[in-house]
Assembly symmetry: C2
Homo-oligomer: 193 residues x 2
């Protein structure tokens, strides 16, 4: 493994898709990374974004201690993007932005990611979806439980905003942390709603 | 994200370093991946190897629905390789092979990975190191607790095999699962040793 000088401080494992770099202002992923960093800084929780899975097909060794990946492809993630520990609980979630004002398209999540969230819930972890409706600037935490009951009772290809309003927890924008989702996890642990 | 046809079934996120591909027979990483797959198949635990963190520096878009990474570098992992959930517990570990017959060089683990294991333990997760002495074919599970007490009481740059014999749990080779480390986690949960 090599860590070329001056390169490691740029993107790294927070890289998701090349497209996201064109956005200015902080997107949900960046805000969650900052939030998780804040939680770590105050020793509250250790939750990380997983590196983006890729398949490497060509590698170069220009010198003994240097490795350059010359060809690689993004692959389908087997799990969700974020996991870690809070108060002894295993935390696992996926975070997505929706451009629509009225619904969240289920095509945004891979079916095996939904299965993964359900597996975690069944094994007594805390799993959920964080969805931001970007143009409304509204962010919701939808528990796997409520996600599953939507899927079980609907044939729709998207979850209407109204379903979030009625069944999910709104996450208020903050300064630091930006997306204080653990406040809601505290409620989940407490067992309300 | 693109998933080029016929490519996704090859290596994927189990890729660790290009060197490991030269080995024949199953190495520790492959055995752990098989073991974790087995645990998932029988719905016992959901523990995954994280993708290898890389920093992408050049990307090509040969067509609208195709993305090729043309240059990327391996970066230092911020956490350990494996984490997941078992019986509601957050599980986190790093796995390493040692070529030496007499000791495990601490240079194999990054200092922030050790810190990470300690953070997890402090927050009531179960964290440990799995070390295989390859030429002896002996595999040990060393809890973070015992790792920390070694580090606190020694200036050595490696942990002697004898320390493992006295303070770690041997993991016996099996057929399926190959490396049944959850048997030892059961003992940790039970609170012996």
């Amino acid at each position: 493994m090599n860590y070329p000088n001056g390169l490691k401080k740029k993107t790294t494992n927070t890289f998701s898709t090349p497209v996201s770099h064109k956005n200015r202002g902080m997107n949900l992923e960046e805000e969650l990374n900052n939030t998780n960093q804040y939680y770590r800084d105050i020793d509250k929780a250790y939750i990380y974004k997983k590196p983006t899975p890729i398949q490497i097909t060509k590698v170069d060794y220009p010198s003994r201690d240097k490795t350059i990946i010359k060809e690689a492809f993004f692959t389908i993630p087997s799990t969700t993007d974020y996991n870690g520990i809070y108060k002894g609980y295993y935390i696992d979630f996926e975070a997505k932005e929706s451009k629509s004002n009225t619904s969240f398209a289920l095509s945004n999540i891979h079916p095996h990611q939904i299965k993964h969230l359900q597996n975690i819930e069944r094994h007594k972890g805390i799993s959920f979806l964080i969805v931001r409706f970007t143009s409304l600037n509204e962010t919701y935490l939808l528990t796997t439980d409520k996600l599953t009951s939507f899927l079980d009772n609907n044939d729709r290809k998207s979850i209407p905003l109204d379903y979030f309003k009625e069944n999910a927890y709104p996450i208020k924008d903050g300064y630091n942390p930006r997306v204080d989702y653990l406040k809601i996890v505290d409620q989940l642990i407490g067992g309300t709603k």
